[in-house]
């Protein structure tokens, strides 16, 4: 029987020019439940579907705050994500200590990109088995980045990773033009709708399995713009948003836009 001889470590190319260990790590990302991220001109949101290992267990956290201005959503190995999350937290604290400002999001993403890439080029190391969506704001506005185990990072307007995320991406591609001018609430609604696309048959969004993370710019009392601290919303806090995108609520809205929404 055929046996692949080029997938024992992450430092050996196959004759076809592939590094199988890195590709397998990318598969681990697809095992994780789906997470969605969208940016507008003022905000960036992360929306995630949480899973419980069994009926009696709690749901695994999917969205984590990194710093005041940034957070991540994870798909894949949670323990690997924790290592990256701790690293990012430390970097943000260190940067704030030396420069007195939020770590620019691109710098932050470049750091984990470089860190993850090293694991794909040193013998005896294993790539991170997790993909991330990094959401954050800095002086240049809101940002959303995708991170892959290969060390690849890319800035996105909207994206989804994880199991069945293709359906969510299709939704995002269809509505791409709308996002830029969305309000905070509209952006969250789009995120949840995208998430719903990726649900398996007969599953629904509930307050138990839905998690939302938001950061962006808000108007302060004195009219100046302030950074809205990255916050993760769970449980009762997401109830109103879920009800807002419930199927029965969607029908009248669809009528107005004369658009047929598939139930």
């Amino acid at each position: 029987m055929f046996r692949n001889n080029y997938d024992n470590d992450s430092v050996t190319f196959s004759p076809q020019g592939r590094i199988f260990q890195v590709e397998y790590a990318a598969e681990a990302v697809k095992q994780g439940s789906v997470v969605v991220g969208i940016t507008s001109k003022k905000h960036v949101v992360l929306v995630a579907l949480k899973r419980n290992a069994e009926e009696l267990s709690s749901y695994q956290k999917k969205i984590f705050a990194i710093d005041e201005h940034a957070g991540i959503a994870i798909a894949g190995l949670t323990s690997d994500a924790r290592v990256l999350s701790n690293f990012m937290k430390q970097q943000c604290l260190g940067h704030r200590l030396t420069y007195g400002r939020d770590l620019p999001v691109r710098m932050l993403v470049d750091m984990i990109g470089a860190k993850a890439q090293q694991n794909t080029q040193q013998y005896g190391k294993r790539p991170y088995g997790v993909g991330l969506l990094i959401a954050g704001v800095d002086e240049q506005g809101p940002h959303l980045f995708e991170f892959q185990p290969s060390g690849m990072t890319e800035e996105m307007v909207a994206f989804a990773i994880g199991a069945r995320s293709q359906m969510a991406r299709t939704y995002l591609e269809k509505n791409l033009e709308l996002f830029a001018d969305c309000s905070r609430e509209e952006l969250i609604a789009h995120g949840l709708k995208a998430l719903k696309e990726s649900l398996v048959q007969d599953r629904e969004l509930t307050i138990e399995n839905t998690s939302v993370g938001v950061t962006g710019f808000s108007k302060a009392d004195d009219g100046s713009t302030k950074v809205e601290q990255f916050k993760v919303f769970d449980g009762q806090e997401v109830n109103a948003w879920i009800e807002g995108v419930a199927d029965d609520k969607e029908a009248p809205a669809a009528e107005g836009e004369s658009m047929e929404v598939d139930g």
Binding site: E68, K89, L93, R96, L97, Q229
Partner: protein
């Protein structure tokens, strides 16, 4: 030796660099030796009440006879979730060498923030006080030249003040003054907060004298006490003045008050 070197022989005028006798100046006789410390003056004060703590400090920063800044805070909120310390519940005051004080504050704040991240709750004043002692002692042989006072509310909601020396010795107290005018303010506090040398009139003679009973001071009384203490210090100490910064810690949060002091 000199014959084989690049240098001329010893007879006649000599130009050698390496053969010259070394002038052995005694160690420490060097004209310039870098002194890593300076004293930036200023004074701090903390008083614990029944259900509140007031931390205060003047805002002058000096070096020698110069006033470097008229507004340089010495009292800091510590361990909030964010950099603006909106939800902080602990206050630290530092006085002595300003750069060490700043570094100490940032170390403690970073530690409190990591504690919050790991445990999902704020550090208690007691834990924070112990940790601050450790931080100071870690630099026992190159100390932070800073007199720190930590204030907050303990688990029962009572005012708590912890005071430190530069190498980490600490104790919990009712009140403490630190810095340049500590020796001026502390006796005043002994008398006005702990009622030292106050006796009940006509209660007897000599050892039979009855001490004035101690009762907790109200917040407004303490605020007046603090202002009076600093007005006195400003009058008698050149390194104290410009502004008075007060942090009042209650169960509802931290209130910051800025009052003017004499700028002469």
């Amino acid at each position: 030796m000199a014959m084989f070197s690049q240098n001329p022989v010893m007879n006649g005028p000599n130009y050698s660099f390496s053969d010259t006798p070394k002038v052995n100046a005694p160690e420490g006789a060097r004209q310039h030796r870098f002194d890593p410390y300076t004293d930036n003056g200023g004074s701090t004060l903390a008083i614990a009440g029944k259900d509140f703590t007031i931390m205060a400090g003047d805002t002058r920063l000096t070096s020698g006879y110069s006033i470097n800044s008229r507004y340089h805070p010495k009292v800091f909120k510590i361990g909030g979730t964010t950099a603006d310390q909106k939800d902080a519940s602990i206050v630290l005051s530092v006085v002595g060498f300003a750069a060490d004080g700043e570094a100490l504050k940032e170390r403690l704040d970073a530690i409190c923030k990591m504690y919050r991240y790991r445990h999902g709750k704020a550090m208690s004043v007691k834990a924070c006080a112990q940790r601050l002692s450790t931080i100071l002692y870690q630099k026992r042989f190159f100390p932070y030249y800073a007199y720190a006072i930590l204030g907050g509310l303990d688990e029962e909601g009572n005012g708590a003040v912890y005071s430190y020396d530069p190498v980490g010795s600490y104790e919990r107290e009712q009140c403490r003054a630190g810095g340049a005018a500590a020796s001026l303010i502390m006796p005043f506090l002994d008398n006005q907060v702990n009622f030292k040398n106050q006796y009940v009139p006509g209660s007897g003679e000599g050892h039979a004298l009855q001490e004035r009973p101690r009762n907790p001071l109200s917040r407004s009384d303490v605020e007046i006490l603090v202002k009076d203490a600093f007005d006195g210090a400003v009058e008698r100490h050149i390194e104290v003045g410009d502004g008075l910064q007060m942090m009042v810690i209650t169960k509802d949060g931290i209130e910051e008050i800025l009052l003017p002091l004499k700028r002469d």
